[in-house]
Amino acid sequence: MTTLYTSDHEWLSIEGDVATIGITDYAQQQLGDVVFVELPKVGRALKKAEAAAVVESVKAASDVYAPISGEVLEVNDALAAEPALVNSDAAGKAWFFKLKIADKGELGGLMDEAAYKAHTA
């Protein structure tokens, strides 16, 4: 299992041809208290950089973009009932959705943990 990061503060955990995607701890700190998460429909084919999910704090709504292309296999329904999970466990329980990776070549443009740490430093 490999974890990769985008410059938009999303993480991707790669297992075989499935990517589990969420937002980083840095992102949740910037957003503040999350009160609502809208997730894509299972089966939707997402293109890289397309708006895939929405995360809302008290003060604003922010789009979460698909970091790579792929079909939505599963979404985290726990976030509908408990959006605050994004604040308490952004890198774990608060995953957003799982994608069937369409093109592994797209992973090449993403950052590893060291590069992401440097990006947010």
Partner: protein, 381 residues
């Protein structure tokens, strides 16, 4: 790299205190203001409703209207030429909510007017204060001297423990009632205190000389009941209280009647009243009083969890293509733990309980017209 725009932003006398308390500074109405502190918007909001919060609102405009005759009634009558409120009826030591109107009946700004015995004290919105002052000078200079009190900071202390917190440094605070206003000693400073605010909670607004603002706020924050609160929670608190935000819920295109602010226009200024009319847009506003306005500001509660924000178009049903109104303020109400919004609808669809739809990201979300305030206010009348 500091953007030029950012370097042009003004700072309030409490800027250093905001930074010291970890305030996240953002541009607002030409000022660098704290949108939140480390506690975050949600906790700041809930703390204000549970205990007390202190807000820096020094960006707002403070003005004194001094009658050249020395009679405050002359200043009151002069101001009545610009607002539809009964200012003559504001007793010494009292304050009233008002609006500057234009010839079309629209709202140029909303404001507070207090009678300080020998002059009137006005608090106006930050974004409008330059225009408001020019407006006052243009129309009232014959009868009044207009002083911009730019050397004063303005602080709001709000919440159920605001009274006990202020009482420690202002013995008069507990005896004040909602909308009482006047000069008071707070700590060792000469302040203007009103029992009012913008959260729906009991509380006070304190005008203090700029050089003493930090000392005063520091004394308030020494009380563990009091937390500093940013603009983020100020907005969610006022939204739950159903209070209008100028430039969003009211502006030059909305009349006080459309904005459901009839309660703020006393009988004496309406048709048949003792000093009826005589303010800009009176014909239109007083006609709307009698015959109704085509649209009306309403409170809206979402049935789901998704916040419906400013600008969302409103529809009569889930399929119609023609918008019938729009959301002018909206977000998540932390005390209600639910989304709330304010918007405009055609008057026939403005009754409480009416179901409408907002379009958010291509989806139609059901909303119901709801009574405001969404959270009951706790003013000490």
């Amino acid at each position: 790299m500091l953007a030029r725009d950012e370097s042009d932003l003004k700072r309030t006398p409490l800027y250093a205190l905001h930074l010291a308390r970890g305030g996240k500074m953002v541009p607002f109405a030409g000022y660098e203001m704290p949108v939140q502190y480390p506690a975050g918007v949600l906790k700041e909001h809930l703390h204000t409703r549970a205990a007390a919060g202190v807000f820096d609102v020094s960006h707002m405009g403070q003005l004194a209207l001094r009658p050249k005759s020395g009679k405050v009634s002359d200043a009151a009558l002069a101001l009545e030429r610009l607002v539809p409120q009964d200012i003559l009826g504001v007793a010494p030591g009292r304050q009233r909510y008002a609006q500057f109107t234009n010839a079309d009946g629209g709202i140029l700004d909303d404001l507070m007017v207090a009678n300080f015995g020998d002059h009137l004290f006005l608090v106006v919105n930050a974004a409008c204060k330059t225009e408001d002052e020019a407006h006052l000078r243009r129309h009232l200079s014959d009868t009044c001297d207009i002083d911009s009190l730019s050397g004063r900071a303005l602080i709001a202390l709000q919440g159920p423990r605001a009274e006990s917190a202020l009482a420690k440094i202002c013995a008069d605070a507990p005896s004040m009632k909602f909308m009482d206003a006047g000069p008071r000693r707070v700590a060792e400073f000469d302040c203007f205190v009103s029992r009012s605010g913008y959260t729906g909670e009991d509380g006070f607004e304190i005008s203090v000389p700029a050089e003493h603002a930090e000392a005063l706020v520091t004394q308030l924050l020494d009380n563990p009941d009091v937390l500093p609160i940013g603009l983020g929670a100020r907005d969610s608190l006022r939204l739950e209280a159903g209070l209008c935000l100028y430039g969003h819920d009211i502006d030059t295109t909305t009349t006080p009647v459309e904005a459901a602010l009839e309660w703020s226009i006393q009988k004496s200024r309406r048709k048949g009243g003792a000093h009826a009319g005589g303010f800009p847009g009176a014909d239109k506003i007083l006609d709307q009083f009698e015959h109704g306005a085509p649209r009306r500001r309403v409170g809206l509660k979402a049935q789901g969890r998704a916040p419906v924000r400013e600008g969302a178009p409103l529809f009569a049903d889930s399929t119609s293509t023609e918008a019938i109104g729009k959301v002018t303020s909206g977000g998540f109400g932390p005390s209600l733990n639910a989304p709330v919004a304010i918007g405009y609808l055609p008057t026939p669809l403005s009754a409480i309980g009416t179901n409408v739809f907002a379009e958010v990201r291509g989806q139609r979300l059901p909303l119901a017209v709801a009574a405001t305030p969404f959270v009951p206010n706790t003013y000490k009348r």
